[in-house]
């Protein structure tokens, strides 16, 4: 939906405002229509698969097999959604995805901020400094390297389920998150914490009432990355979770490759339902997503 409104409003804005030009200005100062137009044309590459998903999802099964992917649905049908809802047991898959993602987000923000606070404020101690590099090392450890052993271990301790997936998601997010939090805490003035400590507050209280609230912007960034990584992950849940009825939404989509491969409208309705939550979250959190990527890479 958003995809369509954006693609129609952007060119409209471009053509609606070229009058506001000042003759005396040099070429550098006015927005370039040519560049804008080129970018709008390029953005078709982003929208094409999303547009296809959208139109296919609202077609009837009969129309969806005619091979005209980009034609508009006629008649407009929500049958695909109804069937996808039942076929993939959407409510259960959604609940499991929400559970795994929520545990990952909360777990990552809490564990990483605790660890980063301890590390940043005791950097002169070898134990804390080495812990930092120890946690960081995992950033360079790809999941496929650990997968075979992790599948075996989670099976042995009864974690071959969404709880185990969430735990591993937290662990794989830790490195990046501790790195971001530690850098952020180093930039916070220690005086505030000291005044709290002079008032007799314990470390925990100082963290809870002074440090954690100040870290809110960084927590938002860390939380969004944990959300995206966890919500969209396919590799880990597909390997770790043994019971296929406990799978997350991305893994459930494989049912349309094997069993119901000709009900295209149903498949696309299901894809749409799986990708929409992340798109909605992105629309509200763009700023943090964008700044987070930059911070993560340039640290």
């Amino acid at each position: 939906m958003t995809a369509q409104t954006l693609v129609t409003t952007t060119p409209a804005q471009v053509t609606a405002r070229p009058r506001r030009r000042f003759l005396g200005r040099g070429g550098e100062d006015r927005p370039s229509r040519k560049t804008t137009l080129v970018l709008v044309v390029c953005s078709i590459a982003v929208f094409l698969p999303l547009y296809a998903t959208l139109t296919m999802a609202f077609k009837t099964t009969a129309q969806s097999v005619d091979g005209q992917v980009f034609s508009l649905p006629s008649p407009f049908s929500v049958d695909g959604f109804v069937q996808a809802w039942n076929l993939t047991n959407f409510p259960r898959g959604f609940a499991i995805s929400v559970f795994v993602t929520a545990v990952t987000v909360v777990g990552t923000v809490l564990l990483a901020s605790f660890a980063a606070y301890a590390i940043a404020r005791n950097w002169d101690r070898r134990f804390f400094r080495w812990s930092f590099f120890y946690l960081l090392a995992a950033m360079f450890l790809p999941f496929p390297v650990l997968a075979l052993s992790q599948v075996k271990l989670t099976g042995m301790v009864g974690l071959a389920n969404p709880v185990g997936v969430a735990l591993l998601h937290v662990m794989f997010q830790l490195s990046f998150s501790v790195l971001l939090f530690t850098a952020f805490i180093r930039g916070l003035p220690e005086e505030l914490e000291e005044s709290g400590r002079l008032d007799g507050a314990a470390t925990w209280m100082v963290f809870r009432h002074i440090v954690f609230p100040m870290m809110a912007p960084m927590s938002a960034t860390v939380a969004i990355f944990a959300f995206l990584a966890s919500w969209n992950d396919f590799m880990m849940p597909s390997l770790i979770t043994a019971d296929s009825t406990l799978q997350t939404l991305p893994v459930l989509q494989n049912v349309f490759q094997t069993q119901f491969s000709s009900n295209y409208n149903v498949a696309f309705a299901s894809y749409l339902m799986a990708m929409t939550p992340a798109i909605v979250v992105y629309l509200f959190t763009q700023r943090w997503v964008m700044s987070g990527v930059t911070q993560g890479a340039i640290k």
Partner: protein, 308 residues
């Protein structure tokens, strides 16, 4: 970590005056409580599997039951296994092509998105969007487009090569994987380039345009050299990520046709079923060593770059 905890016992009296040792006040115990549980969890779920995997790579384990140490047998076998070699050749080739494509496109888009344009915020939001969409799901969508729409287009335009699905063509199926991976990977490279371009002081451009440098000239002589550090970082990060290729391949070709597009990750995961558990552990260990080398390269580059 145990030793460190032992050498600083009884850290209870937080408020004790640290007159004797001037700067080294005792670490409040809470700090250990903040850190140690996480370290333990991390060790159990990351370090232990890593050590276990590397150890088992020197055995003949099939994933359960008894096993014997067989030294380097698995490693010797790996290097002469055509299936393994093919997966490394495919994955590294794919990663190289993708990393170049992604960086060229992301750089050009970043130049456009930092220029004076209309609807800048909306356009940036649009180009970052693919980043938030699940790889496997978008691969299924593209799978449909490649097997239905593209052949139709091929017929309509009269390009015979496109009339059949690229996914079924052993020589060209990799192209589809490059396209979808690039679609998803461009946003993060783009954001890093935008940050890089914005960090170039405006005066540099002003001086250049006063000297009569054309926009193209400014791009080649100013922007490109000044973002070299970002190019290198993007290349290394991208290459590292693309070596892990899995989701998108599963959604597009599932390693096929035949084994033409089987990535390293896919061969490692085959160790679950084929009875060559220890063998694939050895494969994973080799893969790990490659990751370590890349990590060292990245850290060196980071250190070098932050100097300017």
């Amino acid at each position: 970590m145990a030793t460190a905890a032992v050498t600083r016992p009884g850290s209870r009296d937080v408020a004790a005056p640290a007159t004797l040792r001037v700067r080294r006040a005792r670490v409040p115990r809470a700090f250990y409580l903040f850190l140690v549980p996480t370290l333990v969890l991390f060790t159990l779920s990351i370090t232990l599997p890593a050590v276990m995997g590397i150890t088992l790579s020197f055995t003949d384990s099939v994933g359960f039951g008894e096993f014997q140490f067989t030294g380097l047998t698995n490693y010797v076998a790996l290097f002469s296994d055509p299936a393994i070699r093919a997966s490394y050749a495919f994955t590294i080739g794919f990663a190289l092509v993708t990393v170049v494509l992604v960086n060229v496109l992301a750089f050009l888009l970043a130049v456009g998105l930092t220029a004076r344009i209309r609807a800048k915020v909306a356009l940036r939001a649009v180009f970052v969007l693919p980043m938030v969409i699940s790889g496997i799901v978008i691969a299924y969508v593209f799978n449909f487009l490649f097997s239905n729409s593209l052949p139709q287009l091929g017929q309509a335009v009269g390009i015979t090569a496109l009339e059949q699905s690229l996914l079924a063509n052993p020589d060209l199926a990799w192209v589809t994987i490059v396209v979808v991976t690039a679609w998803q990977a461009i946003p993060s490279a783009l954001l890093i380039y935008i940050a890089g371009i914005l960090s170039i002081p405006g005066e540099v451009y002003e001086a250049a345009s006063m000297d009569g440098a054309s926009p193209a000239r400014r791009l080649v002589s100013i922007t490109l050299p000044l973002v070299t550090g970002y190019v290198v970082i993007n290349m290394v990060i991208g290459f590292k990520n693309f070596l892990n290729a899995y989701d998108i391949i599963v959604g597009l070709t599932n390693g096929g046709p035949g084994t033409a597009t089987r990535s390293i990750a896919m061969t490692i995961f085959s160790g679950f079923t084929g009875g060559d558990y220890a063998y694939q552990m050895a494969n994973a260990t080799i893969f790990f060593l490659i990751a370590v080398v890349l990590a060292v390269v990245q850290l060196r580059l980071n250190r070098g770059r932050s100097a300017f």
